[in-house]
Symmetry: C2
Subunit: 210 residues, 2 copies
Amino acid sequence: MTESTAKKPSRIQLRNRKRIMDAALDVFSQHGYRGATLDQIADAAGMSKPNLIYYFDGKEAIHVALLNALMEKWLAPLAEMGPEGEPLEEMLGYIRRKMEMSRAYPRESRLFANEILQGAPRMRPHLESRLKPLFDEKSALVRGWMDQGRLARSDPAQLILTIWAITQHYADFDAQVRVLVPGEAEGWTAANAHVEAMFRNLLTPKDTGS
Amino acid sequence: MTESTAKKPSRIQLRNRKRIMDAALDVFSQHGYRGATLDQIADAAGMSKPNLIYYFDGKEAIHVALLNALMEKWLAPLAEMGPEGEPLEEMLGYIRRKMEMSRAYPRESRLFANEILQGAPRMRPHLESRLKPLFDEKSALVRGWMDQGRLARSDPAQLILTIWAITQHYADFDAQVRVLVPGEAEGWTAANAHVEAMFRNLLTPKDTGS
DNA sequence: CGCGTTTTTTACCATTTGGTAAAGGCACGA
DNA sequence: TCGTGCCTTTACCAAATGGTAAAAAACGCG
């Protein structure tokens, strides 16, 4: 609808839009929305500031475009968790994917963290329309597993929040983690091992006898 | 040393410094360092911008003063955990205090979160000199408990990181939590219950038979 | 090539923002 | 009550920042 009259973008347009988005991800994730400047983004993208504006309507438009583009990627790990497999393995798989996201895409994680920290001014609609339904769906799935006794019982919503908190912590608070836990590369393997063991422990159903 | 030649501050000075710090906490925690403006802080403190500068050397000085003042309060819950009591109760007490901090002082939590997110540019010295030693000390304490079999074994450092991740999440990502988990006041009781049960579960030593 | 279209640059601009200068107000002890 | 030193305000300012106008350059296609 929004694009009904838009012509199809040229190769240059596509390439430059991507360059801008990548540069903006760098800058926004490092300095936050207000801390980022168009000049910084332009520099990082290797083009002039007015040239940025030629491709995007303005600073806010770039930010919103980033947020929109990232939302799907960000939800994917949770979306993939389905009722087909063994509950414990489905959950652990989800947790592993989430850890991998934090490791591989820390900029994206920090971009979201910045946005949420400031009250999600530009993302609340997305949270309500995309995140909430998925969250509710998966909460119900987990509750079902618990009801069947295939997963240790707890509050599914709180459980998912807990998973997010821990996995994202490694990306968002990287600066702190690095100070406290020396060793760069090994840091992740230790973190992965701990998180996996922890949730395996928590999620494995207790044999209730009978 | 720094204050060797300073006169003792008057009553007005004390009062206004407090007003400024409180206002600055509001503004910085909501918008981040660069997102905050002196005008906003001045408004919130009910005084003029040059008057701010009369009491503090500038924007950065206010931010640093805030960070310094907050550090002690922030470390207190962990500092209080000592070797006297029963390990499980000591840990759960710590976790409860940390949750209470997030509930009672979300602005402080977000201020730190903002700072760490951006790489702790103004706080890294503090992290190294104050946080790291405490972290190492308490990690060792926890490891000792585990070695004695009085706490379930895991990586102490990762365990503490995990506690921070979860407890701070409720303050820092409040905007998201609110969208996902309806109910304001009850939210905290559900969160408290979940976190306590979770860590009790994790920390209780498994009877290894004999 | 020739020419319309897309892309990029140069030169600006208005607003915001951190900060200053200096005069005025105010409190309070002698 | 008068002056002295602490506090506050008014009037500014230079730099930074988001954004625009319009000319110049590059592209691509018949």
